[in-house]
Amino acid sequence: MMRKLGIGLLVTLRLLYGLFYVVSATNKIQRNYMFSDYPLKVFTKQMTVIDPDGLPAAYLGKVIIPNYQLFGWGITLGVIAVATGLLLGLCTRWAALLAIFISINIGLGGFYDASLIVLIALAVLLVIFPAGHHFGLDKRLHRRHPQSIWFR
């Protein structure tokens, strides 16, 4: 009974987390993150908000803003990959790891608040537990490719 409840919670978490990233991906596509200078505007505006001597300002100013198009592409494709992976239970642990990587980068860019801690903690749960092995493609693919690290 407890096991079934745990699995149910884990799958629900995975799907909700996936939906969160669907919203994020929709937002990025609607705002044309890949083919416009919209991300540059966002990052430049963020520079005016944060402490100019802090790490986020250095990361934004020296890494993100000079490569804003690369980051626009990376963010958009990254959130699409996380949404797809979590909703389908495909390469779930890797999708959750990618979500953590994205969250850390968001934090490093100064866009952090307490919600980021919760999002990272929930993603860690999806890395630890095999959420893709229940109502997910990982189960079938792991059977077919037991040596592969992608479907564990």
């Binding site: 939906l19 919203v23 999002l119 109502f135």
Partner: protein, 174 residues
């Protein structure tokens, strides 16, 4: 197959909800004289108002930890139901006319952002975000408000907080 169907059903349900639960009245469109991002939980917004209603500075502070975490739901739900309101901790400073010297400071208040009508609702006043006009809750014009830049706003709010104004004197809360 079952997995793909489950994922597709979850997405379809989400998109379906998105389509049928949007507010029916149109949102007041931009550009806005006072643009306050409703999903920014750590932004400090400072509005300086002056006119016949005197001079006041409204400091809309960052949200508390619980409210910051709740922005996860806000972010998700905005695809299903656009956010129509938000609340921010508020401190009001009543200034001596023509100066940046606070006569009174009223903390522990709350401002409501009417995201749909683009108004900032304060304890005894309302600010129209489209025009920046400042009104009493009864609809009497009080003057106009300016949205300070983040850097200027933060500097002013720190100065005002450090000024330790005299104990609250009698008078209405702007």
């Amino acid at each position: 197959m079952r997995v793909v169907l489950l994922g597709a059903a979850a997405c379809a349900a989400f998109v379906g909800l998105t389509a049928c639960s949007r507010p029916s009245t149109p949102q007041v469109a931009g550009p806005l004289a006072i643009d306050i991002p409703e999903l920014c939980s750590k932004c400090v917004e400072v509005l300086r108002c002056s006119g016949t209603g005197g001079e006041a500075v409204y400091v809309l502070d960052k949200k508390g930890m619980g409210a910051q975490i709740a922005t996860i739901w806000d972010y998700m739900l905005q695809a299903v139901r656009p956010k129509t309101e938000d609340f921010r901790p508020l401190t009001v400073y009543v200034l001596a006319r023509g100066t940046s010297e606070p006569q009174r400071a009223l903390g522990g208040l709350e401002a409501r952002l009417d995201v749909w009508q683009r108004r900032v609702e304060l304890p005894a006043a309302v600010i129209d975000q489209k025009t920046g006009s400042w009104w009493s809750v009864k609809g009497e014009p009080l003057g106009a408000c300016k949205h300070l830049s983040r850097a200027d706003g933060l500097a002013l709010s720190r100065t005002l907080a450090a000024a330790k104004p005299a104990a609250a004197a009698a008078g209405p809360t702007p």
